[in-house]
Amino acid sequence: MTAVPDPGPHADLRRWLIERVAVYLRRPPAEIDPTVKLRAYGLDSIHALSLCVDVEEAVGLLVEPTLAWDHPTIDDIAAHLADLLSGDRTGQGPADTD
């Protein structure tokens, strides 16, 4: 477990993302490695777009539909969302409110 340096909201995000992705891929969450590119598991554009909707609904962030290609692993997406969230708090995030 030493490979997980950040136990904060980042880890929660990672766990939540793994659960969502596992549903789309019809695999047990334990099989999803957060450092492996999601395309290697067979994630397609329909899944990728749905993941964006999930992020919007559960995390409250509007993200680009290319999220899963721009940030190809669970770890990358989690880090990106954490960035957006911290940016939101300091009011310096991207103009993603409407």
Binding site: K37, R39, A40, Y41, G42, L43, D44, S45, I46, A48, L49, S50, C52, V53, T66, W69, P72
Partner: protein, 557 residues
């Protein structure tokens, strides 16, 4: 009656309407009478610009403005070319340019929201407000007049536009009308894009032809929240819908128990499935999931068709339900349909009706008996005129016959067989790959893969059917000798590029120079490469295969 415009204008009124439900749930409405008024004004505007008989590209978001522009083109005898709005980026812009070049189109029409971003194509906003709808005079039209060009065939670099005539359209829509038997369609609901042949003909033009309401939404809204499609059916008491297999499967997977509780699908009498292989499992699972909402198994209408035949070739008529039969999988591979109780399930796609159909040995052009698998050939008034500006390809595809003389048959490139009066589709000999109802062309995938790898030789892309019935892209790419760097990194780059550009996962095999086979005339042998891949006889330098595919290859081995 020989043209679609005269047919539709005989059914105008204020009691029928098109309702586009925006992504926020609010409806935009136009009655048939208002659609007709705006279409006439658009036609006057087009004719005033001297565009009669000049093809025009329509790049619109989902919504009513497309319908007005499309009808305006029909009213003006301007062949319309519906196409998807290009995303930002070179590949999409190149596709638009290739379409315009191929069709000889000089004008792009769009809505005011997209005019600025499409300024690179000199896109115009048709302004019917400045034209007088009463100034419209119907141009001379016959059954042979081209109504529109459907560009769902051919790759980006080599697009092929199917020329659909007014006669084709009227005949195919009459086949739709007959499907309904004694209960004509009253209200259609759907989400398919208007540039897809099933969205254009199966939803928009069917509604106009039948004098039925159409309630529709954007494809993006459907993918994001599939329950919205079922809510359209529920809220507007729709009796017809159409979708590829993937749409029904996506609903079964995504709709929650809570959402299900609010749905009423009992008004639905026709649910067409087509445009991609139909999985028996999809139908059974949807039925089970939505029975509590009032969905009846007799509602299904599995069908088969293609743009080259306007849309529909065969479809199960209303009320007959689904016929699933099981066949020996190893016999299917040898092109024989041998019933086997525990075998591969195939869904019957309806009887031959209103068109001639035969199953033909694709090599010897010999008609085959029932139960024998061959290429599906079709003939009749729904078969389109041909590919625009491509006489050689038109002859090869649309004019097949027993001899080298002019034939009357359309070669569909799909494989199937007839049994007990029903058509079953088993595969295809053309190279297209169909994923989530979308046609992907191997040339486009190969070209993107080559762009990502400067050391690439030839590539071959093809589709393979996974164990769950879904199609998966496989790309075999040659590596030139002396390729610098790590093959794993190269593979990663190629896969990133293809996935990003096409939104599909893929399996990649890097092979040595000369491993991708060609014919003596230099034509890529994709089907042969597929056979070599599936039989495990290719020697990879490096391979990254999707897990589901690994399982498949192990079964073969």
């Amino acid at each position: 009656m020989t043209d679609f415009v005269t047919h539709v204008r005989a059914r105008l009124g204020d009691d029928r309407e098109f309702v586009f439900v925006r992504d926020d749930g609010s409806p935009a409405r136009l009655t048939f009478a208002e659609l007709d008024r705006r279409a006439r004004a658009t036609a006057v505007w087009l004719a005033g610009r001297g565009l009669t008989d000049q093809p025009v590209l329509l790049l619109y978001p989902a919504g009513l403005e497309f319908t007005v522009a499309f009808l305006g083109c029909l009213y003006a005898r301007v062949p319309a070319i519906p196409a998807p709005l290009p995303d930002a980026g070179a590949p999409h812009a190149n596709r638009v340019r290739a379409l315009m070049r191929d069709a000889g189109a000089r004008l792009v029409l769009t809505d005011s929201a997209h005019a600025a971003e499409l300024s690179g194509f000199s896109a115009c906003v048709a302004d019917p407000a400045v034209a007088d709808p009463d100034a419209w005079t119907p141009p001379a039209m016959t059954a042979g007049t081209i109504a529109y060009l459907q560009y769902t065939s051919g790759s980006t670099s080599d697009p092929r536009g199917v020329e659909v005539s007014h006669g084709n359209l009227l005949h195919n829509l009459e086949l739709f009308r007959l499907l309904a038997r004694n209960t004509p369609v009253r209200r259609l609901a759907g989400w398919l894009p208007h540039y897809h042949d099933m969205g254009l003909v199966g939803l928009q033009l069917q509604a106009l032809h039948a004098g039925a309401d159409l309630v529709f939404m954007s494809p993006a809204a459907f993918v994001a929240r599939p329950v919205r499609w079922l809510e359209l059916i529920s809220r507007y008491s729709a009796d017809w819908t159409v979708s590829p297999d993937f749409g029904y499967a996506w609903c079964t997977r995504r709709v929650t128990d809570e959402q299900l509780a609010g749905l009423d699908l009992s008004t639905l009498t026709m649910a067409l499935s087509g445009a991609e292989p139909i999985r028996a499992g999809t139908l059974a699972e949807f039925e089970r999931r939505f029975a509590p909402a009032g969905f009846r198994p007799t509602t299904w209408n599995p069908g088969y068709g293609l743009a080259e035949c306007t849309l529909m070739v065969t479809c199960v008529p209303q009320g007959q339900g689904v016929t699933v039969r099981r066949f020996d999988p190893s016999a299917l591979e040898r092109h024989r349909a041998v019933p086997l109780p525990e075998g591969t399930p195939l869904v019957a796609c309806g009887p031959v009706s209103g068109l001639d159909l035969r199953i033909v040995d694709p090599d010897g052009f010999r008609p085959l008996a029932d139960g024998e698998i061959g290429e599906i050939w079709v003939s009749g008034p729904s078969v389109a005129l041909g590919y625009r500006g491509r006489p050689a390809e038109t002859r090869a595809t649309f004019r097949a016959g027993d001899s080298a003389q002019h034939g009357r048959w359309l070669r569909t490139g799909d494989l199937g067989f007839l049994l007990d009066g029903q058509l079953y589709v088993t595969g295809r000999i053309k190279d297209v790959i169909i994923i989530n109802g979308r046609n992907l062309y191997p040339q486009d995938l190969e070209e993107a893969a080559a762009r990502a790898n400067p050391a690439a030789g030839r590539s071959a892309a093809f589709g393979v059917r996974r164990g769950d019935g879904g199609e998966h892209v496989v790309l075999v790419q040659e590596i030139r000798r002396g390729q610098p760097g790590d093959l794993g990194e190269t593979a990663d780059r190629v896969m990133d590029q293809v996935t990003r550009e096409f939104g599909v996962p893929l399996s990649l095999m890097l092979v040595a120079r000369g491993a991708v086979r060609q014919t003596t005339s230099g034509k890529l042998r994709r089907r042969h490469m597929r056979e070599l891949f599936l039989s495990g006889t290719l020697t990879p330098l490096y391979a990254e295969l999707e897990p589901a595919l690994n399982d498949l290859l192990e079964t073969v081995a």
